[in-house]
């Protein structure tokens, strides 16, 4: 099932015809690396090359769930002074330019809490909704701590997206499934973000366990960097998330060619799907 944000929880949202039968693609970018305008261009290129959902990463000084690639990107963006406010501004521009793309704000908790100015999540959620954000994923927010966050998200019709991990017992998966909207982010393996050669068996197992509790689309991420892996994920899940691989391309490219390089890479991630459509 494709990822769609404007559907009521539990409904198995209608698919765009053209998307049926191929896995959705979620693309993560650390916004502000190499700079804000470049990130905007790269994001547009990612959407136009076929990303269904963009995760807009808010740079943070202490990205403790991330591997070296995203750590370095985050560090560069923080050094440039890129903040949550800047990321929301990029989101608003993207929303204006590409009304149909899914936009997820991806952040560690502290910048979001700080944005609230000591008054919880209301100000953040209002600003995110105004910027055209569909969903929010907070890396270090667990369901047990999320009451106030979920209430504010609901008031602004934003989709809270939670992580499900291979180590999560069934009781936790049930709670995660109950409060998630939009999609659930399935972590393919224990560990930090970053590319790996082959998918471990963890992911498929986890998707099966999670499926018992939800009809929401399930997006598998962490370590996905090739068309083969995307295709493999497509056999048991709804979407694949590509993150560090994109951020590494941006790191290795000059500012001028980064958008084109990312677009080409994303285009190449679904040769099988492209063939099927032609």
């Amino acid at each position: 099932m494709p990822i769609q944000f404007n559907q009521s929880p539990g409904s198995s949202g209608g698919a765009g015809e053209s998307r049926t039968g191929r896995p959705g693609l979620v693309a993560y970018l650390t916004i502000g690396d190499p700079d804000l305008d470049a990130s905007y261009d790269i994001a547009l290129a990612a959407i136009d090359a076929g990303a269904d959902v963009l995760e807009l990463g808010v740079p943070f000084s202490d990205p403790l769930a991330d591997g070296p690639v995203i750590q370095r990107a985050s560090e560069r963006a923080v050094a440039r002074g890129v903040s949550l406010t800047d990321v929301l501004a990029i989101a608003a521009r993207l929303r204006a330019a590409r009304p149909d793309c899914g936009l997820v704000l991806f952040s560690y908790l502290n910048p979001v809490v700080r944005f609230g100015q000591g008054a919880g999540f209301e100000r953040f959620c209002a600003a995110a909704a105004a910027a055209g954000i569909d969903g929010v994923l907070l890396t270090d927010m667990i369901v047990e701590e999320a009451d106030a966050y979920l209430a504010a998200m609901a008031r602004h019709s934003l989709a809270p997206i939670f992580l499900a991990a291979p180590t999560s017992p069934d009781a936790r998966l049930e709670k995660i499934a109950r409060v998630s909207r939009g999609f659930v982010y399935v972590i393919s393996r224990v560990g930090i973000t970053g590319a790996q050669a082959a998918l471990e068996g963890d992911a498929e197992q986890l998707v099966k366990r999670l499926r018992r509790y939800t009809d929401l689309p399930l997006a598998v991420g962490f370590g996905i960097s090739s068309a083969e892996q995307v295709e493999q994920v497509g056999r048991f899940a709804d979407a694949a998330v590509v993150g560090s691989a994109l951020v590494a391309i941006i790191e290795a490219s000059s500012r001028e060619i980064a958008a084109e390089a990312v677009g080409r890479f994303i285009g190449g991630l679904r040769p099988v799907a492209a063939l099927a459509r032609s």
Binding site: F60, S61, D62, P63, L64, A65, G67, Q71, E75, V78, G81, S83, L84, T85, L109, N110, P111, V112, V113, R114, F115, G116, G118, A119, G120, T139, D140, M141, I142, E144, E145, D147, A148, A151, F162, L163, A164, A165, P166, T167, S168, P169, R172, I176, I187, V190, G191, I192
Partner: protein, 421 residues
Amino acid sequence: MGTAVDTAVLHQEDSSQGTAGGAASTPGRFGAYGGRYVPETLMAALEELEHAYALAQADPTFQARLDDLLKNYAGRPTPLYFAERMSRELGGARIYLKREDLLHTGAHKINNCIGQGLLAERMGKHRIIAETGAGQHGVATATVCALLGMECVIYMGQEDMQRQELNVYRMRLLGAEVRGVSNGQKTLKDAINEAMRDWVTNVRTTHYLLGSVLGAHPYPTMVRDFHRVIGKEARRQMLEQEGRLPSAVVACVGGGSNAIGAFYDFIADENVQLIGVEAGGRGTGLGEHAARMRGGPGGGSPGILQGTYSYVLQDDAGQISLTHSVSAGLDYPSIGPEHAMLNDAGRAEYRSATDDDALKATVALSRTEGIIPALESAHAIAEAMRIAPTMSPRDILLVNLSGRGDKDLGILTRELKLQGA
């Protein structure tokens, strides 16, 4: 003192309930502070640890083994020593030192390491990881791993590896692998990030032996419990030696483990003042100090770092600030959540001592009492030296001397030469 912020709103939808106790129903809350803010991958391990700890606490066998090791291996109880000459020279309050520096490995850290080491053994986790700043927690962890026959990996910022070189050698001699961390400012915070990344990756086989009252629940509670013995002993010894309680308990605060251990059994004694001493560093701007509880520009404010909600040094965008202290063990941008609660409730007061104050206190204690304190503990000595002369000879100051200064000889030689001492 930090600024009063309506902190309950982070967790509690109804913000009218004020700060303390707003969300006390969730486990691991200290008023509005504490909690669990971690990647989902770690949640199962935290729940397992919480469960194992609860079982161990109720198990007389576990407690007996812990008590035995604390006594016969670590050297508890530690003395409560009347610093007569220093008290006389300062004039004013009678200064007592709780001698945690005399424990095996040279600091209070071993209390917690023995406790968590035994717990890891119970959980069947034979690979231990830990972070270290000054190296005292790393040495204590490596020591316990040697004792229990466990694999040990210590993460340490490269800046700290240089300034606490002796402790790096000690850890390696004890059989631990010391991994240098070159991210960020290469100090304690960065070592914790790297240890967390290791834990997320190896969580099924590894116990993270966190060294302070920081991180996600159950760490702040569990680490406090393992250090409660400090205050428990000191309170009893004080009553034995003086027949009354102290006017104030003074302790340095990095993450705050020695301070909470010293404070905890005095919290109910309302007439005993509790004073935590943070690193005032070399200035008041962000990046110049580690005084999280200091309000106003350049001071701390509530935020989330490395799993817990507490006072944090950060900029307007929520990026964590750099910090500075001459002492690696206090050089950290957040503070244990229970301290945040004690601060807001007005039960404990948090002050700071500068690098210079600490260096002078180190020399003073060395030369009046023949005791070389760790630079961390010297911050508490500095505050005691400042307030003792303002107090009456009937007052008693209990200072927790959390560690000894051998590890700091390199820094001391360099810094004191600069100062012409």
